[in-house]
Symmetry: D2
Subunit: 217 residues, 4 copies
Amino acid sequence: MTHSLDNSELVAFYRAAGFGGRVGWGSKAAVLVIDMAGNWTEPDAMIGSDLGGVTAQIKKVITAARNNDVPVLFTTMAYDPAMSDVSRVSRLKTPHADKMVRGDQSTQVIAELDRRDDEPLIEKPRASAFRNTNLISILVDRGIDTVVIVGCSTSGCIRATAEGAVDLGFHALVPAEAVGDRSPSAHTANLFDIDQRYADVVSVDHVVEHFESSADR
Amino acid sequence: MTHSLDNSELVAFYRAAGFGGRVGWGSKAAVLVIDMAGNWTEPDAMIGSDLGGVTAQIKKVITAARNNDVPVLFTTMAYDPAMSDVSRVSRLKTPHADKMVRGDQSTQVIAELDRRDDEPLIEKPRASAFRNTNLISILVDRGIDTVVIVGCSTSGCIRATAEGAVDLGFHALVPAEAVGDRSPSAHTANLFDIDQRYADVVSVDHVVEHFESSADR
Amino acid sequence: MTHSLDNSELVAFYRAAGFGGRVGWGSKAAVLVIDMAGNWTEPDAMIGSDLGGVTAQIKKVITAARNNDVPVLFTTMAYDPAMSDVSRVSRLKTPHADKMVRGDQSTQVIAELDRRDDEPLIEKPRASAFRNTNLISILVDRGIDTVVIVGCSTSGCIRATAEGAVDLGFHALVPAEAVGDRSPSAHTANLFDIDQRYADVVSVDHVVEHFESSADR
Amino acid sequence: MTHSLDNSELVAFYRAAGFGGRVGWGSKAAVLVIDMAGNWTEPDAMIGSDLGGVTAQIKKVITAARNNDVPVLFTTMAYDPAMSDVSRVSRLKTPHADKMVRGDQSTQVIAELDRRDDEPLIEKPRASAFRNTNLISILVDRGIDTVVIVGCSTSGCIRATAEGAVDLGFHALVPAEAVGDRSPSAHTANLFDIDQRYADVVSVDHVVEHFESSADR
């Protein structure tokens, strides 16, 4: 396995098995910005990595979204300081959960992305933004049928959110340069699986052009 | 990236980032046998691959389970012949959905696993056995807090079910030899992610020994 | 308490407490026909009652829907003959669950409603059509944001489905003459609660007129 | 319809139709205290009513729970000040949603119930404590199979939470004196439905005695 999406032999093998179709855009999109808070974006934080390049790409996506009335929603992860509202199995499997304390600066969306007051911030307890949160209600209510997923980490919350999206009937797209992961191999392997199973992996330019050319929203 | 779980450098890197803890067993386990029907087990079927070795390992697990009063549950995937009860986004992304027709022999659990009448067969519409099914209700009702996940495919339904299990507070274990995938690279990469994020990846022997030594069920 | 919705004093009291607003129609509707199978429609069945008048009203609603390209979806309840896929707590609380056997004629939608092959039939394990089923996926996928709920029973599955609909962000409407209940008092009390909390209770004529006047679908 | 549970004729009619069975206790219980915050307990608040008597009964239940190592969990409802994380359909149907502002004193559990730091506080977006929250994960993780539901309002969040509990396979009990509602008729009608369909309606004394006599927790 190479770490590139250009593994044409493997792609052909999957295509023959009925994977990797193109879903494309529905009629009304939103952008989901996953876990772009200090716990993940500070390279010195336990669970952090250098996401500088990813952040710049996310800014391109959300700027185009805001300029074209495409809703932008954010997620973070946080539990109460006593860790009473998170399962023990979560904490055993991923002990970094204990670093995610509600109210701490490290759980706030980074200033660089300039979240607006009317852009929802979903506090998600698990990897998928759809799991045990009110996100489904917010999206259905606004008539959104397509989600563009950006942020981190590709092998965790991005993949899980893409899976949750198609599970619930949404079109999902992942612009490859706008998602990041601490592990290059996990990033590549999971982008492959995402593209084959859950969401169309596309470029940031494709997303920006779509937002700018859409007059019907 | 090697395709082995013995990538000790990567494991150490993840451990330092707060991943890959051991969850272990809870107090009452069940076995979930995922999608062991002809559509997946016949090498000539669109979505099939050679799972002969996996089937033999699954038989070891469920024999030990049945001998020790550990419940065994099965899943399959099937939609109505008109495909009215599956989303169009699912069919676009994974066109093999159209091969999964309720009532067809190819959606039935293979005879070799000898499903008993009182062992539930969950018809799941999506990758995770927990998504949009009654599985959570059946497990809670029986006081089950631990799921052992076997079957296929590692990179799809096995991973998604392990993720769903910990999302909902269950202990989850995946015996590595009892899960299979059409792609060796996807199998290895996803076992790594599963072990770091969702379920303890263990051996079939470990599971069998646990079932045989548990007197409290 | 009278059994009429014209209890104007109580309505005013609720209105002052911030209940009973009008939600109205969204942009794309579907009709959900709840549990119109022999188990519920045969007066001699354990859980049945005389729903003849309700059936006639449902036919008006679904005829108008079909004539105007409004999707119609059906539900029923059924478990496997060994009752392995239903919780024991369900069976203890409502022992009639044991009469709902998958494959039995009594769980099929009554012939009078003439379900078409491309109209989904959702087998729901619980009162709400949204609970542990694939319904959310089907609705989101089709861009539906409004559900018109008809069938039985007002105090059980109708109310629970209306609650589930607004929980998930849908507009919900219940045409009063097209829902029925074995108990007149439960019917009235629950229509009141539904109208105050979950769905707009309207007339069948209102629904039919809306379907016939909608050109945008 | 009388407003009493002693409507023996109606009860017999329901019993014959397979409703109203006794579910009883499972093996490990928790208490769910629903929405006992100023917005609901202050008679002058928009959505408030006089719950003084109910509060005293809840104290009996949670004192017995705390003395016998039965976990106690609390819920409240709150949205961000911009109301970006609540659906518009919710706000249209129940405009009092706009009074539920995250961080306001009126959304905090009343001091009289003396919530401990290690007792989870679930911020629920909808009537049911199980809908779009992490509650299921917390309960499964702790091996809890039985919920005792107290608080308000009987016709809204209590009923919806009882329904959610049995939907997910839990035993559910509602001690009648420890739940309240602004409307006596809605209180009575909904206790009847709860007892027939979802949870065993019992006395506070029954719950206290059970907690005090249980040595196995």
